[in-house]
Structure formats: C-alpha cells, structure tokens
Symmetry: C2
Subunit: 299 residues, 2 copies
C-alpha cells in the first residue's frame, strides 16, 4: 500500500566533527520519503522556494517519489542550521529560517485524499490536523512531533493524538509531554491520549514500541563511523512506515520487523551528510544490514 | 564451575524518589555473589568490620555463598552514601567511609587459589593485581573498574588488563579510558590493551559485548517501577559470570545468553532497595523473566 507524507523539505547547514555542509538537502519529509520508497510507493506534500536546486527534485524523481504535492512557492526554501557536539549526542540549532514554510497550508491533490497510509511528519500540529481533515479515513495514521509543539501547541497536539494510530516521539519529549521519568509509565499515559501505539526513539540507544499490552525494544545498530545524525529519526520513521505499508497489515510480527527496518535505514542516513548515503542504498545493502542487525541482537 | 569474587561488602545509605535506607546491605561482591549463586557455587573474599550485622552473614550463608574468605576486622564496615536524581539517571555520592576497607589486603584461603573462574569486582587495581598473583591460572578472569581508578591508577589498571579475559566498564568510563566518543572504536582500543572481550554497561540503555571480531547488543529490560539502581552493574556481572561458569565454556551462544541473564538478574536488584528483591528471587522468577526478555527483543 502507498504512503502519503506531509512534512518539511529543507536546506540544512550542518557542522559535525566529520565536517561541514552548507545548504545540503534535508527536511523530515525528504528523509522519510527516500527511506520509505525502498519498500512502497510514496507521495510527498511539502513546500519549497524557487531557489530549491533542481538536482534535489531530480533525485526525488529518480527515487520515484510522487511529487504532485510538492508546492514550489515564490521565495526562499526553509533553512535550518545546527552544530553537533564532539560525541554527536547533542546538537545546537544555530538558525531556523522558515521562509516559504511560514505560510505553508498543505493542500492535498484529490488523488492523495484516499491514501491508505498517512504520515504526518514533524510540523505544527495545526497543519497536521488540517491535513487529517482532508484525507478520507486512512487505514493507518502516524505522526511525529517535537519539543516546540509540546511546549507551545500542546492543546492542538492532544487533539491530533485522538486520531493517531502510531505516535513517534523521542525520549525527552515523552517525558516532557507526560511529566513522567519512567518511560513505561510515560508511554501508557500517552496511549491514554489516543494513539494505539507509541514509538519512543532513543537515538543511539535504540527505540521502544509500546502498545497497551505489549512492549518491543531494540538497541540501535552500532556503527564505527557516524558522520551526521541529522534526519535519523525521520529515516527511522520512513523505514518503519514503508515496511508496514508494504506488509499492508499491522500484526505484532510485522511491527517488530518494521522497527528493525527503521533502525537499519537510519544507519545509512547517519553514515553520511544529508542524504548522501541514504539516496544510494540498494535492496541488497538493506537486506545485508537487516541480517547483520538480527545477528547483533539474537540470543 | 565455581567462581571466586573479590570486592566490597558494604553498608549503604541510599536516597531515591522511592524512599531512603540507612546502613542497608550493599557492596560489589555482595550483589555479585548473591546473583551468581543462582547459577553456580561462589566464594567471596572481602572484609567487614565487627559492626557488620549478623543477619547479613546469615543471608549470605543461606544462599550458600562460601564465606571462608570474608575477613571480619576490628573497626567499622565500609560505608557508602548517595542520593539519586528524580529520573534515577544520576547519582551523587554524599560520603565514602572506607573504614576497615582502607587496610584491606585480600588473602586467599589455599582452597580458593585454584578457582576456575575469577571475578575482580571494582576495587583498587593494586588490590586486583595482588589477588591475581595469588591464583593459579584460572580458566577465566574478569574484572570491573570505575572512573576513580581510570583517573588515579591507570598504570596499574592497564597492567591488570593484560591478564584479563573479560573487562566490564560503563559507557562514560570506556570513553574516559580511551578518549574515544564512539563506543565501537573505544571497545576496539580497550581490546588492544589486553582483554579478549569488553562489556560496556549502559545502565537503562542495556549492554554491549565486544570481541575483536563480533558485537552483541541488548537493551535493558524495561521496568515500570525502579526503586533503587544501586548494585545493578554488580548484579549484572554476577548473573553474567554465574551463567558462564555454570556453562563452563565460552562460546558465542553462551556469552549471548550470559548477557541476557545478567540483564535479567539486574532487574530484580533495581526493583527493591539493597538486596531486598534479589535475595528472594527463585529459579522460576529468573526463567520467567528471561523468557519475557527474549520476547521483548525478538523479531
């Protein structure tokens, strides 16, 4: 089954111990769609400015991401800039220039409205709600969020969560949203807010999938060389949702494999700047790393 | 096969969000031996003062820990006191009173010298080396350490590591010892210092076993109620070494199960203050949790 993703397409300026990139391709919807496209058809809704390099459009087209929903607006593309600490565990945002994204009002092409799988990447919950209103009862709706919306738009976020099947957020966000230090308790409280399942992302420590009556936990895939963690979470979500949509059903076994595929896809992203590595990944690369990962955690 | 453990037996005063305990039973060798005793015979070498409560001796005897090597010296027992943060991820040491431990010179009873498995719990590397000299070529030697020795006794620690088969340390310690932010690279450097295998403990994020040509990684077992993390690492080592000694051989499959059993044993420790829960665990509790853990991480 196919996925519709609504999120950001951006130009990122990033500095890590491995080097620096200026105005490199980034954005939650970008990482998500290229990752998911290895498993299933993907349509993308986002906005870029008329300064957005043609080569990035070509790359997305080469990956057969459906770009009918990519609006090209007058003005500059959304830009983000950040710097990572020496051990890559912390990052500082240096600047966020919304540019054309400031006036973004996602409008779905008619043929997008019957999407079976919907992923609302990390954007303002008001926009996420707006998209949700336009679609016709998807088989599965998932979303991501960030600390900014938990702080400033929690009412809208909570309204959104009532209609969400799978909610992605990271560990500090889960604690912030619930005021709970224990992840198990935090997840159970979030499930009471609406989502059937919660995926708590722990970065280099892996991810945990919670439902009301089960837990599944995986460590991250250990790499000897991490270049740039930007986009890892969005790639994880793309691999997860891509595998799920391809399977077309939500069983315990499918969900577990989806978490593993999400983890595997994220490793390619962090091994390079921007989508340098992710965009070049082959099915054989994915299968090989999936099998290695299975070996890494089996006992 | 049996294990000899050399380490501390202490009285701990601990404050966590769940409550407070004054002069409760603690110490690395205590947690280790009670955990390992579920798998294999254990002999303990340590020192306590003549104020050490008889009830603790009785508990250890009830668990059939061989106490021929437990010296009872004139003076007070080693005391440690600490307080945990609200989310239990940080702890502050309030006081460390070595007392009789200050003059501790481990002397092994003759029948201990041929131990097949030796665990040098976290004590001064000079003492660890001293014990190593007294034993006759054990089948397997493992040790733990802490930041204090990496800072102040690194030369002795490095000398010790040349004779170690399995080295336990936590994530910040591995980074401190090697100056490497990447755990994979840190572990490979440590292996060059001597140990055949390194186990990096990540607390609530699990543990990773490295050898020169393989990696095995497990998350921690998620608990909905953590009372007191004190002793978790020593219990982990006890479960790991206990399982290994019981198996009597060091294969990849045995090592993986040993990490899982170590993880499972540590959950009992953190569910109560001191050894309250750990000391009451049955074989059936262990098996049940081991099977649950397997389910938690399988895909």
């Amino acid at each position: 089954m196919s996925i519709l993703v609504v999120g950001s397409v951006a130009l990122d300026t990033v500095k890590t111990p491995a080097g620096e990139r200026v105005d490199a391709l980034g954005g939650s919807a970008t990482y998500f769609s290229v990752a998911a496209r290895n498993f299933t058809p993907v349509s993308l809704v986002a906005v870029v400015g008329n300064d957005f390099p043609k080569q990035h459009i070509n790359m997305l087209k080469k990956h057969k991401v459906d770009l009918d929903g990519l609006e090209i607006a007058d003005g500059k593309t959304f830009r983000w800039s950040g710097v990572y600490s020496g051990d890559l565990n912390d990052r500082t945002t240096l600047s966020t220039d919304l540019n054309v994204f400031a006036a973004f009002e996602p409008k779905l092409p008619d043929n997008y409205k019957k999407t079976p799988f919907l992923f609302l990447a990390n954007i303002d919950p008001t926009l996420q709600l707006n998209v949700l209103k336009q679609v016709k009862k998807p088989k599965l709706t998932a979303c991501d969020t960030m600390n900014l919306w938990i702080e400033n738009k929690q009412e809208e976020l909570r309204k959104l969560l009532k209609s969400i099947d799978i909610f992605f957020l990271n560990e500090p966000e889960a604690k912030m949203l619930t005021g709970r230090g224990n992840l198990f308790k935090a997840a159970q409280e979030i499930i009471k807010m609406g989502p059937k399942r919660v995926i708590i992302k722990k970065g280099e420590h892996g991810a945990i999938l919670f439902s009301s009556n089960s837990v599944f936990c995986l460590p991250a895939y250990l790499l000897d060389d991490v270049v740039d963690p930007t986009g890892a979470g969005d790639t994880f979500a793309g691999g997860f949702m891509g595998y799920l949509a391809k399977a077309g059903k939500v069983t315990d076994a499918v969900l577990r494999n989806a978490i593993a595929y999400g983890t595997v896809m994220a490793t390619f992203t962090v091994e390079g700047f921007s989508l340098d590595k992710l965009a070049k990944v082959t099915q054989s690369d994915i299968n090989k790393r999936f099998n290695n990962f299975k070996k890494l955690v089996s006992f």
